[in-house]
């Protein structure tokens, strides 16, 4: 019961955040709604017995990625962007309504028929904790771990080379 309430709360708010992200006129409002959605996503992770992911979700998304977004929005002459009415085409609401309607329909039928694929009762102890994920990451998925480092390294170098604009200095 408690879990259901939490799920509908977090899930519903996350979806709301997502919709508002897409629907907001101003980029700053979008970003703030997206942060809201991500915070609720952290709640969803917690419900899925993935506390490590939940905390990382907040740390990485809310603490770093979205800060970067907000930073860039503000630096790019935000006031102009606020009034950018063209940024939402008139197909917007139909385009948003269609998938949501489809989802609602399928959800009703799916959940109405099946039992919702109940999870195997309580997750094993230590499931989704930092220790477990770390053990996996450094053992079975070492390649993934290395890939992550390479992706991040490339991203750092790429962002730096784009940001430094060396060729522009006279």
């Amino acid at each position: 019961m408690f879990e259901s309430v939490c799920f509908y709360l977090c899930g519903g708010l996350m979806l709301l955040g997502g919709i508002m992200t897409v629907a907001s006129r101003s980029a700053v409002a979008s970003a703030v709604w997206l942060i809201f959605a991500f915070l609720n996503a952290a709640g969803v992770y917690a419900l899925l017995s993935a506390p490590f992911l939940a905390i990382l979700q907040v740390l990485v998304y809310a603490g770093a990625i979205m800060v970067l977004f907000l930073f860039v929005i503000m630096m790019l002459h935000g006031p102009v962007m606020n009034e950018d009415l063209r940024s939402r085409s008139r197909w917007f609401w139909p385009a948003l309504a269609l998938p949501l309607a489809a989802i609602a329909g399928s959800a009703v039928t799916l959940l109405g028929r099946a039992r919702g694929g109940a999870f195997p009762a309580p997750a094993p102890h230590g499931f989704g904790r930092a220790e477990q994920v770390a053990a996996l990451l450094l053992d079975r998925y070492l390649l993934a771990f290395e890939l992550i480092s390479i992706v991040l390294l490339v991203a750092i170098i790429g962002a730096l080379s784009l940001g430094l604009r060396e060729g522009r200095r006279t």
Binding site: L53, Y61, L68, P124, A144
Partner: protein, 101 residues
């Protein structure tokens, strides 16, 4: 009814499609980037949900990878956007059609 895998999948799909419609409909490239982040997030929920269903934390590793990709995407994407803004004074996708013309 207890909350199960299907619920999470439905939620993830809804979030994913919301993000997708954002990518398709919005013209402000910053918001498009944000919509992509939303889609990635929806994918992560699917990973985590199946991980829970199967009782195997391997899915979490992939979520971590996806975090890294999302962070890298944001960093590079925003760097490119800043650069475009410098050259064009706009981040509106309709203004960035030089190649098609």
């Amino acid at each position: 009814m207890t909350i199960g895998l299907t619920h999470y999948l439905v939620l993830a799909t809804a979030v994913f499609l919301t993000g997708l419609s954002g990518v398709l409909v919005r013209r402000n490239s910053l918001i498009v980037l944000m919509s992509i982040e939303l889609m990635l997030c929806a994918g992560n929920i699917v990973f985590a949900a199946f991980s829970r269903w199967l009782g195997d934390a391997s899915g979490h590793v992939f979520v971590l990878m996806s975090f890294a990709v999302a962070a890298a995407e944001a960093a590079i994407g925003l760097a490119i956007l800043v650069e475009i803004h410098r050259l064009r004074r706009s981040v509106n996708l309709d203004d960035l059609k030089t190649l098609t013309e």
